[in-house]
Symmetry: C2
Subunit: 96 residues, 2 copies
Amino acid sequence: MLKVVAQFFIQSAKVDTALPLLRELAALSRQEEACIAYDLFVNEEDSGHFTIIETWPDHAALKAHSLTEHFTRLVPQLQGLGRETSKITLMKAVDI
Amino acid sequence: MLKVVAQFFIQSAKVDTALPLLRELAALSRQEEACIAYDLFVNEEDSGHFTIIETWPDHAALKAHSLTEHFTRLVPQLQGLGRETSKITLMKAVDI
């Protein structure tokens, strides 16, 4: 299982533009057959700092996600609204 | 509902020391009655970058968590093993 934390840092004047793009990205990503979980959050203290927490079965599924129409259309638009580079962290679970 | 992403950046020579502390923190935090979810992950490309993804019902529960014996004992130890300051992000869910 592969966990992904994707952080977007949106310019304050562009948050209203970014929000529907993020929602569309989440809605369409959730429809991918391999998607286990895909949830969108916003920093309580920074309305331009969005975090997507994703769960995929493996790297192949994440690669396929990155090649979908919605990903290749929406992610570059979101990056164009950023005040800094987005951060993507790929993680594996640690047994407790 | 309150989502928390807590990131610890541990010195490479201290990862073996930090890991049992992180596991203990997670195990005891999960036992807190208010805890909805508490999962530990490690960056695939950085064995010292640990991320805890937590879900709490509200700020009061998170505050109570921060006052527990295990939190006040283990978190300062983990911070002492850090190569940089830990990052805590408090987030709310965005409806899709």
